[in-house]
Symmetry: C2
Subunit: 391 residues, 2 copies
């Protein structure tokens, strides 16, 4: 299978690690990697317009198949001209396969952006069969079935540049037998995803395969080989990445030398700044995470070189603070509003505060990725990491 | 009293009505009148940054003394460099005296932006004496006293360009005797406001007097004469404007020929599009109202030439509508997002929807005022009114 309108070129490799610089070309533009993909779950970045995302120097955003198939529906978005036209984001875009959310909700785990609507005792997953996953529509209780073919069909209607095979994301507590069986089923779903993708392939989209295998090294090895040998454009590291940071790095470290070396690699759902440094050094090219805009809604401002890389703007220490979030930021909002004003906006429950912090946090993540790329170019990634991460 | 850094020049009068074009000069810039003043009640326009207000071509905003004295407090805002520096709005700004909200809440009436926090059975007004108004802090129950001197002192600390005398806004149901006594007390408060203003006058602010007198023509006449003879920079039509639109227009119509003819005239709290046409023709120069951003939060988009001048974007009729709110708008958000997308944002409770409609509504009000000014210049106000207001 050819991807004539896509390309991934590795332009430089870090001699001290597996980190690499690349360019990822899509029909909606070329981005430099490593890069961060912002989550526009329900066809919108929380509190930010495409214009504000551009002001914060964002390159690429992501939509969620699970949420969009439920509301407003893939057919509607197709009628409206696709996700780019619908949202007015004209840059590169990615959609996931829908699998992650179905299973995360089904297991009663973190329910991402719909947290609060779906309680742990209200599991929505009905069953997983060879055919696909049956689940309840969280809005109206209707029974829905998502299959490999359906996931690809929905993602085609949405029209993002980079799309995903359908897969099951297994939980940490399941036995090895379950993980193994699920992985093989995800591989069969991957084959069906490829077949369905190829049937409608018009060159406008490129498909990523997903490495499964949970916490088991031999299964990860098998899944890496499977993705490597299939005509995917990119590779994602998916599934359960263990119960601790150490295990997550260990599992990712197993996979990276075994996947296809020339394809772009996406790490699903990871976005903590410390994890980004660790994973860039393992060779990850793109990341996505809801956290920059989510923590903004709780009053947290991302910051370089402070413990935890964030400041709680609700804290009374900022009440009379006349300094801005970052006087050197390229983003006007980060340079111009004082911390005291942002503190006031949160205390007074003024929605402008959410918007200012969301745009600031997006800008900080983009600044981080620009600095990471510059540090790979100059071989100074460890030095940069020490500037960002402090105790 | 001189206002050396302020000026109001009437540049053209409509031969067919009392409508007039003017320029209102302040230390933070000159605005053309008639114009609309947007309410940034708690030191922020709901959902919009100063940059977004400028994109929507806004000229002037207003802050509320009552809300700001409670949160974050006038002393804090003064320490932070004043309201302009605090909010990063660098254009002309107005603050009210605090009287309106104390009395509106005291009477258990509309409580503006804090609606929902303050129920009708939770009246916050404790007493009105010659000294001032005692009321409860809605955040912590603390007893506060607002006097003419305190109101001017707070407004000086806030630092808006155009500020107000302290006054009582009487309710519709009170007897004539109460209205008359209250009006005379407001006049005495006005004298005290002028004395306090003059004591600290540094040329950076200009003071408006307020016409009271409720629904009684002879009282209005007396109050017009009182404001006219005092060294205020501007005049506001305040107090109870009756129980119907007809009565409101009648009362305003009594006042306009009797107030100082050369001073700018502000109509407090009025902002419906139909009322703006009627009142511009009576000679009003500036308006303020929370409605453009408030109705945005409920999904209403302001529109020219549609019944009621607004569209409910939550309505299912917009679900598949690919047309923008206004393809000819100077505001990108109004031209670029489809009605169907905005409908989706409201159905999906995406906060971006609030932001888009708030900016759109602000832009529409500014467009209205630009068109009103152009129509006064060309003597076509009636024609313009027919374009905006339809059954």
């Amino acid at each position: 299978m050819d991807y004539p309108n896509f390309a991934f070129d590795i332009t430089r490799r870090d001699p001290a690690s597996r980190a690499r610089l690349g360019t990822l070309k899509t029909p909606h533009g070329t981005i430099n990697t490593p890069n961060f993909i912002f989550c526009g779950t329900k066809a919108a970045i929380k509190n930010l317009s495409p214009k504000q995302m551009r002001e914060a120097q964002s390159d690429i955003i992501l939509g969620n198949t699970y949420h969009l198939m439920i509301q407003p529906g893939a057919e509607l978005i197709e009628k409206m001209g696709g996700l780019h036209e619908f949202t007015q984001w004209d840059g590169p875009m990615m959609t996931d396969s829908g699998g992650y959310q179905i299973f995360a909700m089904g297991h009663g785990g973190v329910a991402d952006e719909i947290k609060g609507r779906n309680r742990r005792d209200d599991k929505s997953l009905i069953s997983i069969t060879e055919e696909g996953a049956a689940f309840k529509n969280y809005r109206n209780g209707e029974r829905l079935l998502l299959t490999a073919e359906k996931s690809i069909d929905i993602q085609r209607k949405l029209g993002a540049d980079l799309i995903y095979q359908f897969d099951e994301c297994t939980a940490y507590h399941v036995p090895r037998e379950y993980t193994e069986g699920s992985m093989h089923r995800s591989h069969r779903w991957g084959d069906r995803s490829l077949a369905e993708f190829e049937r409608g392939h018009d060159g406008k989209q490129a498909l990523y395969g997903i490495v499964q295998g949970g916490v088991y090294e031999d299964l990860r090895t098998e899944s890496c080989a499977w993705t490597r040998d299939k005509p995917f454009f990119g590779t994602a590291i998916g599934g359960c990445l263990g119960g601790s940071t150490e295990e997550f790095y260990e599992i990712t470290g197993w996979c990276m030398p075994q996947i296809h070396p020339d394809r772009p690699v996406h790490l699903l759902g990871i976005g903590a700044i410390g994890d980004i440094f660790a994973c860039v050094k393992m060779g990850i090219d793109t990341f996505d995470c809801v956290s920059p805009t989510r923590i903004a809604r709780h009053g947290w401002a991302l910051a370089k070189g402070v413990p935890g890389n964030r400041l709680n703007m609700r804290n009374a220490q900022f009440r009379e603070n006349r300094s801005p979030l970052d006087e050197h930021s390229p983003l006007a909002a980060s340079r111009e509003f004082s911390k005291g004003y942002i503190h006031h906006l949160f205390k007074a429950e003024e929605m402008l505060g959410l918007q200012i912090l969301a745009q600031h946090n997006v800008s900080v993540m983009n600044q981080l990725m620009r600095e990471v790329r510059a540090a790979i170019a100059t071989g100074t990634l460890d030095t940069l990491e020490k500037e960002w991460i402090v105790d």
